[in-house]
Symmetry: C2
Amino acid sequence: MKKDKLDDRKKKVLQAIVEEYINTAEPVSSGTLSKGHGLDYSSATIRNDMAQLENIGFLDKPHTSSGRVPSAKGYRYYVNELLKEDNLSLEEIKYIQKKLEVKVNEIEDLTKAATTTLSEITHYTTVAVGPKADKQIIEEIKFVSLGQRMLMVVIVTDTGLVKETIIKFDEDITNSQVDTLNSLFNVRLKGKPLSKIDKPMAEYIFSEVHYSVGIMKAIIEQINKIVDEEDNSIILEGAKNSFDLPEFKSMKVAKNFVNLLDTKEEMLDIFNSGDAEDINVFIGDDDENSNLKDFSIITFKHTMGDKDLGTIGIIGPKRMDYAKVIAVMKYISKKLNEDNNKKEGM
Amino acid sequence: MKKDKLDDRKKKVLQAIVEEYINTAEPVSSGTLSKGHGLDYSSATIRNDMAQLENIGFLDKPHTSSGRVPSAKGYRYYVNELLKEDNLSLEEIKYIQKKLEVKVNEIEDLTKAATTTLSEITHYTTVAVGPKADKQIIEEIKFVSLGQRMLMVVIVTDTGLVKETIIKFDEDITNSQVDTLNSLFNVRLKGKPLSKIDKPMAEYIFSEVHYSVGIMKAIIEQINKIVDEEDNSIILEGAKNSFDLPEFKSMKVAKNFVNLLDTKEEMLDIFNSGDAEDINVFIGDDDENSNLKDFSIITFKHTMGDKDLGTIGIIGPKRMDYAKVIAVMKYISKKLNEDNNKKEGM
DNA sequence: TTTAGCACTCTTAATATTCGATTGCTAAAT
DNA sequence: ATTTAGCAATCGAATATTAAGAGTGCTAAA
C-alpha cells in the first residue's frame, strides 16, 4: 500500500468533496469548493490538490472535464480518518426513545422496532438478521402436544430467543411419548449450541427409545428446519425509500439492489463478517461487478452482555450519509444494550 | 355499459393483439397481424377492425402513428371471453408435484412451497397472505411456561394454522397460574373466531381471577398482536424477476411496484376481495393514478374443505401471460386441495 | 365487404451544432 | 516555494436538424 499521508489542506479538500457529493450526488468542481466551504484557496490551488488526490486513488473523474467523485478508497479514508461525529437532534432522540420503550416484551420485537426506527430516521433501507445457530446455546427444549397428532417443539436459547416449529404425524402421539421426548432431548441438548441439534444427534437420541420410523422422520425433518432458519429471521424495512434516490434512476443500480435483497447471500456474508464490538462500514468496491458495487452497508451487532442477538444494518448508496447513519446507529445500539442489560439483571 | 358485441373477426383481431403484445411488449400493427397470425385478411381490413375496437375502448394507441395496445377493458374481455386454456407441460406437472409433496408437515410450509413454485414456473412475483382473523375458529389455546418468567401462548385454529407469541413478565409465573389461564381461556374461547380474542374479552376473563396488573397487561398486549398478525404472515417470492421485464425500464413503474410490495395495503385489499371459488383476475385501471395502474393481480384462495387457508396470488404487468398463469394456478390449487383433503380425512 | 394505394403523421435514430462547465498548464504574483 | 490568475483545450449535455420508416386513415377500386 502507498503511504497515503495527506497534508491538512488535502484532507480538507477530500472531506469537502465527499460531503458535497453526499449532499448533491453531482461531481464536485474546484470552483464549488473554493467558495463557501471553509476552504480559502483559489480554484487553481484546489485543482492541484484534486489532481494529486486522484493520482493516489482517492478520487475519480467520470470524464475528462467534469468535477471529481470520491472513489471507494476515498470514502474509506473519509470514514476512517475524517468523519466528524454527528449529533442527533433532540427530536430524534425523543423519537428513538419512544419507539424503543414501547416494545419490551420480546427480543424479536425490540429488534424489529430498532430496525424500523433506524429506517425511519435515516430513510435508508434497513435489515436485521438473527444470530447464527452455532452461537446460540439451548437453554430449554420443550415438546408440547397440540391435538392428537400435532406436536410443537419450542426451543429457548440463552439469548432469550425462542424458536418453534410444528410437527404433524400420521399417527396419534401419547402423553407418555411426549414426556419421554421432553426428558430425552433436554438431557442431551440443554447447554449445547443450537447447531448441535442435527440429524446424527436426533438419531442417537432415538436409538434409546422405540418410536415408529414415521415419528422419528417427522421430528428430525422439522428439527433441521429450526437450525437452518436464518433466512426466516430476516427483517426488511423501508426498501421503497431507496427508490427515491437519484442513483436509482439507473436501471442497473435498481436491479442490483433488488437482487441483493432477494438473493440475500451476498448481503448475509457482509452482515455476518462484521466485528462484534464496532460499527462496521462496508464500502462497495469500485471495479467489482457484484451487486454490491454501488452500495455501502453499515452494520452493528445487537448484543446482550456478550451474547449475540443478531446484526442490524443499513444498505444505501455509497454516497450515503455516513456521519448521520453512524450517529443514529451508535445511539440505537447503546439504547438496545441498556435495555437488554436492564432486563438481564432483573 | 355499451353493447360490446364483437363479430368473430374482431374477436380474433383483439385476441391476436393481446397475445402478440404479451409476447413482444411492443404496440401491434395491422401489418404484423395480417401475416402469420391465422388472420387471412389484408392489413387494411384489420386496420378497420382495429379502429372500431379502439372506438369502443378495447384498444389504445400510444401515439397517432403506432400500433395498438390493449386497454384494461381489452384485457378484461380477453380474459373473460377469449382466453383459451393453456396446458402445462409434463415437466412442469412433474416439477409441481415434486415441490408440493416434499413439504407435508405444516400448512404454512405447503403454502410457502406453493408460492415459491408458482413464482419459479411463471417467473412472476408471487405473494401469499394468511386468512383473516375473523374467519378462523379457535380450536385450542394453550399457555406454556418457558423458564420462570416467560409464557408462550399457542393458538390452534380449525384450519390447522398455529399462531404463537411469547410474553415476558417482570415477576415469576407459577404453575397454578398457568393452569388457571389455560382452563379459563379455553372455556371462554374454544370454538369462537380468532378475532374474538380482543381486549374486552381478555379483561372479562381477568375479572374472574386476581392477577397483578402487570401480568394482565402483558398478556392482553401480546394477544392483540396475534390477532392483528396479517402483515407478518405475508410470503413474498421472486420479486427480482419482475425487474427483468421491459416495463420496469420505466422508473415510475418500478417505483410503483416497490411501493405496492412495501406498503401492502392496496395489495391486501385486492387479495382479500377475491371470490372464494374462483381464480380472480384484477386488471389495473388505465387512468387511475394508483400504484396498481400498470399491474395485474391474479389470485386464488387456498382452502381446505370450506375453510379459508389464505390467498395466493401473482403480481405482474398488465401484459402478463394470463393463460399460463391461470393454468398453473388451477393445477396448483387443485393439488393443494387434494393434499389438504387427504390430510383432513386421515 | 374487402383491399390496394397513397398521403399524412409521428417516432426514432442519426448527425451536427452550440454552450458551458471544468480541467490542466503556464507564467506571473506573493 | 506556494499560490493564483489566465487561458486554451476538452468533453458532455442540451438543442436543433434531418432523414428514414413504420403505421395509420381514408378513398376509390375490386
